[in-house]
């Protein structure tokens, strides 16, 4: 069951606009709206299913807040990421015998690891209150040790067909599976949310794991790397909370129907002209529910109904900036994903999207890759020296992707350091594969950051006049956007002159 079941903003069309061939091949001048629909992520689908305003916030305001923990009604940002990293590490360490299977033995190690990565001390406390019950319940179930045939954080993408009644739509979808157990054929979605005695999984987590399974089953055998190739049709879908494990049924017509609605919202929001109308529609559909009921316990944001401050009286309008920044993300991130999904690896190398190297040597956290001339040219063109890149083991449609950076390059060999801490089982992956892919991560997150700050500035202000008069930023906003002549000066005016 969904918490909100919004109506579609506009009639559902049966087509998802894909990038044309020349766009994929980089033969057009990239400018303004890209002319294709966005590349949705599983996370965006889930949030839109919860409330279309969350999609507005994610796409235009750069707010990617996860759904909140209903028990504490607090939002867990970085602690959630830490939880995922640490749980994967614990499973690997216990599975390899390096850690004994007991809460008391594991917790000190976990706290040490958390302290190394936490941005603030509070995060360690946050993560501790999730990890402790999680270890205890996994020990009870006898499910704390990961075998060598378990992968964490597997990225999957594909063209997924959703059908409900006479309607159907095939759309691209990308997501990350928290844990894929090949031995037990289980797809696991892990979360910090979930009440102790609840008979149901946390809200929409069942939908999330189902979407990931839909991607898996949409892949052709050749899209999956050989060591991991198998039929996932019969895989068990599991939602793992700190307290419980839930099995999710695969045959779910409600999910199919909801996916069509969700995709319709996402596509319409991204349209250049219909976008602003769709945003208005999202507010119309969602806000009355927010105002008449108590604020949703799971809602990750609290910006929708925030009071508008009295000052500044006028401020710049940012809608066009939000939209332009979003469209730039579509050119940078979504087009790269479409290319990875639609083009063969050789063409991707020619396009300079990624380069391929043979694994020559490997140690924990570092891998040496040997490249031929073509790949080396791409490698240089990517100009990796200044930027973080992504290291991918497997295929773009089914692989393990980790952030990395180039440490050293001599001749046709380069040494790449990658974040082993984030993905412990990558090391196993290197033993299975002889090739790895390297590509540059487009800095689209900077656009998200800009959107977030613009939105924060738009909502910020003061209520009291005296305070506002003493506040330089409020006066800056008033001066640059207000209509009072002479309020803004910049030093180049002649004596006595006032600007208009």
């Amino acid at each position: 069951m969904f918490f909100v079941s919004p109506s579609r903003p506009f009639a559902l069309s049966e087509r998802w606009s894909r990038p044309r061939g020349e766009v994929l091949r980089g033969e057009v001048f990239e400018r303004d709206h890209p002319g294709f629909s966005p590349f949705p992520t599983v996370a965006l689908m889930v949030k839109t299913a919860f409330c279309p305003l969350l999609a507005v916030h994610e796409m235009f305001h750069g707010l990617s807040s996860p759904l909140a923990d209903p028990e504490t009604e607090t939002r867990v940002y970085h602690a959630g990421e830490l939880f995922h990293q640490l749980t994967a590490e614990i499973k690997v360490e216990v599975g390899s015998g390096r850690l004994p299977p007991s809460v008391d033995a594991i917790m000190p190690e976990v706290l040490k690891a958390a302290a190394r990565r936490a941005r603030q001390p509070a995060e360690i406390k946050d993560v501790e209150c999730y990890i402790r019950p999680w270890i205890a319940s996994r020990l009870r179930e006898g499910n704390l040790a990961a075998g060598t045939r378990t992968l964490f954080e597997v990225q999957v993408m594909g063209w997924v067909k959703f059908s409900a009644g006479s309607e159907s739509l095939t759309a691209p979808l990308v997501g990350r599976i928290d844990e894929l157990d090949f031995e037990k054929n289980r797809v696991v979605e892990r979360t910090t949310r979930g009440e102790k005695n609840s008979p149901n999984p946390p809200l929409l987590k069942d939908y999330q794991v189902w979407l990931l399974w839909k991607i898996l089953t949409s892949l052709k055998p050749e899209d999956i790397p050989k060591p991991w190739r198998r039929s996932y049709e019969n895989a068990e879908l599991v939602v793992e909370t700190p307290h419980n494990c839930y099995t999710v049924p695969k045959d779910n017509p409600e999910f199919e129907k909801q996916s069509l609605t969700v995709l319709s919202w996402i596509r319409d929001l991204a349209e250049p002209y219909r976008g602003s109308l769709t945003v208005a529609e999202a507010y119309k559909v969602s806000l009355p529910l927010c105002r008449t009921h108590r604020k949703y316990r799971e809602c990750g944001v609290n910006y929708c109904v925030r009071k508008r401050r009295n000052y500044p009286r006028s401020r710049p309008r940012f809608w066009e900036d939000y939209q332009a920044l979003f469209q730039e993300v579509m050119w940078r991130r979504d087009l790269t994903l479409y290319r990875l999904l639609c083009l063969p690896p050789a063409e991707l190398v020619q396009l300079g999207v990624l380069c391929q190297g043979k694994v020559k040597g490997w140690e924990r956290g570092r891998v040496s890759l040997e490249m031929d001339t073509t790949n080396l040219q791409v490698f240089h063109r990517i100009d990796l020296g200044e930027m973080e890149c992504r290291l991918l083991v497997g295929t773009p449609k089914f692989g393990v992707e980790v952030p990395a950076f180039v440490e050293e390059q001599s001749g046709n060999t380069c040494r790449i350091a990658y974040s082993a801490a984030k993905l412990p089982e990558t090391d196993q992956a290197f033993l299975l594969f002889q090739e790895a892919l390297v590509f540059k991560s487009a800095p689209f997150f900077l656009n998200k950051l800009r959107q977030r700050h613009l939105y924060s500035l738009e909502k910020w202000g003061k209520d009291k006049r005296e305070e506002a008069e003493r506040e330089p930023t409020i006066q800056l906003l008033e001066a640059t956007s207000g209509g009072v002549p002479g309020q803004l000066r910049s030093g180049g005016e002649s004596e006595g002159e006032k600007t208009t």
């Binding site: 020619q350 973080e388 800009r450 003493r470 330089p472 800056l476 906003l477 001066a479 002479g486 030093g491």
Partner: protein, 457 residues
């Protein structure tokens, strides 16, 4: 309200001496006015002051900005008032340049801290040089180092690194300066404003040249820089008019291009007016070839080479290049390296082009020692070189010049030409650019001081 009075915190004795010297010496009237305006606070009672200093190429905007910072620091030090400087530059190179200028004005290296990212993840602090690399949350820096950082009067970082600086500053009040606003659009500017609003800046200020290259983006809406957004709202900048970089002949070409922007002309300072390569100390040995001699002659600082007769551009795998023009550019660069020497070392001219494909092509015609001298105009922004060769590539029957015709991207011509100090050689097809009536190129072509030569087929 200022914070409580404190004893002098920073050793600025040398800076005080330097400031006295420059105020009585090299600051010209416009620079002096800019420094004065940059001393004032933004909240002025009846109006809001957002100082904007417009500094075209070579007019010393960074030096002016740095002089203003030094003057303010001295005043803060003497009064014991609160306040730190946060200077944001667009690139790491620009950050280092700002720091260098501050140091040349007597600020101790540890007092002007350059904050940069740590790619390896391990923070590093070099207190003697005033350089710190760390993550945005200062993770891994011990408490005493963070305390040391918090006492520094000036933090310099990039626009993207502002989070790092704010972690250092916590909620301390600041003076906030952005150097090179041409690279800052409205969205960037207000995103920064949102980040620093917690530090209640005493002053927001902007330095830059509105006619430099626009932000690289796919979105037309995001291309105008913050000055272009502010100008219709009544912003009148302090304009620096005297340039200290280019020979007067090169400056006259730049002025012709500024006419296209409807902008004011630049004046050349006395010390650079007649400064050609020999005046810069380069020994000139004329080449045997009379054509090359004419092109390289130090007494012809501005040479336009017509490449119309060399053929046409080519397109391969989405990349545009003009092979024969690339070859000619490489030949001129080699001949220059053989003809000009200083202290026994050859002069290596910079070769600029708007196209990546042409850059690779030219590099292919050069020996390894010279390959590093070829770069795109975008990459050369902010730098200056004694000798510059530019290849504009486009040559076709339709007289189509692609993005070089776009109102915002044609600034590549202006930026490329204004990198040269004493010698500028421009390679372009007159048939495509001039006969096609492409404004900036016509302006360049019509510069009276230019020597025009035809490329040998």
């Amino acid at each position: 309200m200022r914070g409580r009075r404190q004893p002098k915190r920073w050793n600025l004795e040398q800076a005080e001496r330097e400031l006295e010297k420059i105020e009585g010496g090299w600051l010209n009237p416009q620079q002096r006015k800019a420094v004065e305006v940059l001393q004032k606070e933004s909240l002025q009672g009846d109006h809001f002051l957002l100082p904007v200093v417009e500094g075209p190429p070579g007019t010393g905007k960074t030096s002016t900005g740095a002089a203003a910072v030094v003057k303010k620091l001295i005043a803060l030090n003497q009064s014991g008032a609160a306040g730190r400087y946060l200077v944001l530059c667009y690139t790491h190179v620009a950050c280092l340049r700002f720091k260098d200028v501050l140091e040349s004005l007597g600020v101790q290296p540890p007092d002007a801290v350059y904050l940069k990212p740590s790619f390896s993840g391990t923070p590093q602090l070099d207190p003697d040089r005033g350089i710190v690399s760390c993550d945005p949350y200062l993770r891994g820096l011990p408490a005493h180092q963070i305390r040391w950082l918090r006492r520094r009067p000036v933090l310099i970082t990039t626009l993207l690194g502002v989070r790092r600086a704010l972690s250092v500053l916590a909620s301390r009040r600041i003076y906030f300066m952005i150097d090179e606003f041409s690279q800052v659009n409205k969205a960037d500017f207000f995103a920064c404003v949102d980040q620093v609003r917690g530090n209640a800046p005493y002053q927001y200020s902007l330095l830059g040249d509105p006619h430099q290259l626009p932000i690289v983006t796919t979105q037309t809406h995001l291309r105008p820089n913050i000055f272009e957004w502010l100008e219709p709202r009544g912003v009148k900048p302090v304009q620096l008019v005297k340039q200290y970089r280019m020979h007067k002949d090169i400056c006259s070409a730049v002025n012709k291009m500024r006419e296209v922007f409807h902008s004011y002309p630049l004046e050349s300072a006395e010390n650079v007016k007649e400064r050609n390569l020999t005046a810069m100390g380069y020994e000139w040995r004329p080449p045997q070839d009379p054509w090359m001699k004419k092109v390289l002659d130090p007494d012809s600082p501005l040479v336009l080479v017509d490449t119309s007769k060399l053929g046409y551009e080519e397109v391969r795998a989405g990349s545009i290049f003009f092979s024969r023009e690339a070859e000619l550019a490489a030949r001129i660069a080699l001949a220059a390296a053989q003809s000009y020497h200083k202290d026994g070392a050859p002069l290596l001219p910079k070769i600029l082009t708007p196209y990546n494909g042409q850059r690779d092509k030219i590099a292919g015609f050069l020996p390894p020692a010279l390959r590093g001298e070829v770069m795109t105009i975008y990459k050369a922004q902010g730098a200056e070189y004694p000798f510059v060769i530019i290849s504009f590539v486009r040559s076709n029957l339709n007289r189509f010049v692609g993005f070089l015709h776009e109102s915002m991207l044609q600034q590549q011509v202006y930026v490329g030409c204004s990198r040269a100090q004493a010698k500028l050689v421009v390679l372009m097809s007159f048939d495509t650019f001039v006969e096609g009536r492409h404004g900036m190129f016509v302006a360049l072509h019509d510069t009276p001081q230019a020597v025009r030569v035809e490329a040998k087929p």
